[in-house]
Symmetry: C2
Subunit: 202 residues, 2 copies
């Protein structure tokens, strides 16, 4: 049994690990508490419900991922090059999951989304906001690249959405085949969605 | 309580409906039997486990979807036109789900995949085989279109994979936003992945 003072933190860590590896629906509060080494009674001292805990984990994960995305998209080099770096980050996350946990965990937002039921409205709203924000961030980069003539005058929002969908679908393949190599062609495919030829890539 | 003779059928129907609407992990044998109007004891007369039932449902669903895909891909008109029809079918399935069940259910294979845990090996194998077969079917169509000069000489297998990933990612958006309209741009995006201009579409 750990110190009470870090019990909340340990519940968050244990649940993040469990939600990355198994389905949300299959994991109960008892299992989270057992893995965290925290008595079940104290769970409800910190979190109203498993859903409240999941919402906090979603916010923490997206907060961290958004920060990384922002740094990459605001970085040096051509905008197309920055998008390429964003995808390298996606591959890195899945490689890390494979080497640390032995499995490609996929995208926690995509995993949770596909498990959603009609009753999961707060979680659905949060996930919608995250995907909207991802599309918005990539859209802004595409528009900036269009202003420089690096990307043709296609619908930037539609292209950004298609790129996020391509990431999610390809990460799903990486999870299914437990192979981050499935992501190898993500970059070339995204260039096609942007109608940028690979030779043109700067 | 229905007749014993159709109990197996009713379990399959009830479970298919439940798995389309909620996560696999959140649905137990008791709920499936209650919805089917079948005593829980008789479940194990027909199925060894919930997983065995799920595998049979996966096979039935893919058997039906594959037949439809095959008819569309072997149909008349240009190969690009047939692919377009394939996507129209995807949109139709999600529209039907929305009008009949009130929710966009997404892709049952994608939903189950993102719920998979390390212990779900038989299901993982089945889903891998299905996605491999989907890629193979689209690849064959692309190669035939390339032979006619309708699609440029890109890597057909890679392009087919990117299209299946695009379908899965976009269907995930449709599920998240409960809006089949999310699929509106799927066709234009797939043409880009094939490097076929919309003007060129025949």
């Amino acid at each position: 049994m750990g110190r009470t003072s870090d019990a909340r933190e340990r519940i968050l860590t244990a649940a993040t690990d469990l939600f990355s590896l198994r389905s949300y629906g299959s994991i109960g509060v008892a299992e989270i508490c057992a893995q965290a080494g925290v008595p079940k009674g104290s769970f409800y001292h910190f979190f109203e419900s498993k859903q409240a805990l999941a919402l906090e984990i979603i916010d923490l994960q997206w907060g961290s991922q958004r920060g990384r995305w922002q740094r990459v998209l605001d970085g040096d080099g051509s905008l197309v090059g920055r998008l390429k770096e964003l995808f390298a980050f996606t591959v890195e996350v899945q490689n890390l999951s494979l080497s640390e946990a032995g499995v490609v965990c996929g995208c926690i937002f995509g995993n949770l989304n596909l498990e959603l039921s009609a009753g999961d409205d707060p979680m659905r709203e949060r996930l919608r906001a995250i995907f909207d924000e991802q599309v918005h961030m990539i859209r802004r980069s595409i528009e900036a690249a269009q202003a420089l003539g690096d990307v043709p005058a296609i619908d930037a929002r539609g292209a950004a959405k298609s790129i996020v969908a391509q990431i999610e679908g390809t990460v799903m393949f990486a999870k299914l085949f437990n192979d981050p190599g499935q992501l190898d062609e993500l970059w070339a495919n995204s260039l096609r969605l942007l109608m940028v030829s690979e030779a043109q890539e700067v």
